[in-house]
Assembly symmetry: C2
Homo-oligomer: 71 residues x 2
Amino acid sequence: MKKSEDIISIFTKNMRNIRIAKELTQEELSFNSGLHKNYISDTERGVRNISLKTVEKIAKGLGVEIQELFK
Amino acid sequence: MKKSEDIISIFTKNMRNIRIAKELTQEELSFNSGLHKNYISDTERGVRNISLKTVEKIAKGLGVEIQELFK
């Protein structure tokens, strides 16, 4: 993590990169995580200050450890 | 991270362990992070589903990278 980047930018960049690397659409991640697809879209665009429980759902939906989303 | 543990338990355990290892009181972490000491206390007891921006403030207040709080 670079000091100059804020946590939401780091999280959303990793979320998107992992989703694409795993060849998941936003709809598929929505289904896997139990979150609405508009919520996934908003989160990935960085317009939400999401909670830890939502981070956990996204990590599970992507099939990665939580730390992977903060590197 | 163990699969059986939820994200809030993992976060609060790490937060408390790091704070104690760094010999910081909750008041000192409150001062360093800019969060109220009651908020620090509630967070450490796991009664809050905190947001990413709050996670960032706590990491800065503890002087650690964000990933350290999710191991």
